[in-house]
Symmetry: C2
Amino acid sequence: MTEQTKRSGRRRGSGESPQTREAILAAALGAFEEKGYGGTTIRGVATAAGVDPALVMHFFGSKDGLFDAAIRGPGMPLRRLREVIDAGPPAELGERLIRRYLSLWDDPAAAPRLRAVMQAATSAPAAGQILRDFMVAEILRPLAEHLGGDDGETRAVLVASQMIGVALTRYLLHVEPMTALSTEQVTAALGPTVQRYLTGDLTI
Amino acid sequence: MTEQTKRSGRRRGSGESPQTREAILAAALGAFEEKGYGGTTIRGVATAAGVDPALVMHFFGSKDGLFDAAIRGPGMPLRRLREVIDAGPPAELGERLIRRYLSLWDDPAAAPRLRAVMQAATSAPAAGQILRDFMVAEILRPLAEHLGGDDGETRAVLVASQMIGVALTRYLLHVEPMTALSTEQVTAALGPTVQRYLTGDLTI
């Protein structure tokens, strides 16, 4: 990575464009999806993106930095959960969140990225912390603010616990009959749970 | 692993006892906990157990075989979930399951093993399949049979989705304020959810 001979074939100066940064991020996501967090290296990502490893380090600093940028990037599917918060009656927010969450996991363009993020976050503590900070800042805190009250953050994390659990059983572990249920059936089963966490009497 | 020279220092024949098998399994669990599934090797487990790698292969066949045996072993904490199924009124089964599940994750002797199993199952598809098969055979099917009816298996997997989700947010990702809630608070919040999945009107 620091040997001049290995750099010589690529021009570092010409690569410092937003396009190059995006190309590196796309390569990183591909690597996280295919090789897992442990199997992804700065060098491998650089090779896949056709750039010098030093340029990857320049942009992202480390593998954790790459993962952080990949999660925070505009293409991160989980950002689309926020869109439904205000998109209808509060009494139907639970159902809207479940439908949107399932639609992301059922989207062939989004699912590999979600799977890679979940796998990385559960297998590497640093990646888990990055996902947690993203979830809190970008989804749970906005949801808590929308709910208001002293217990908004508690309600938001309870919602997260049910939604992450359904992703794990349905899309990662493929536990039957969870996989066989239709979107409508999962929504009917989980809707009252999530709605109670959002607006019901928790008595805790 | 196949070179006679590497074997010569250890006596294979003398190690084929149940005690040796248990020592290998304990070493494997330690490796899964410390190095993750990807970082665990047959050779490393053999070294930690003080036996020849060929003996590990003889007993377990592969890394997946080691993981399968570690999950199915008598010390697997998740087995203890079954003990509460019949241990009280059906209307309190949800609460009993949550309390027992939290107590396993809060037990310093059990938590590292649970964490290792979850990490392996989410990071390696083969390990995920092994955990899924164990869950279905040892926990979800017995629970479904206890519940009876056509939808027992659906009810059991819905329970699993909420319990796995709370483990992930509370014990693996450490999402606040889930981590700050007491056992009583988590039980009060999740109890009605799990009880509804077990015995409520699901209308799905």
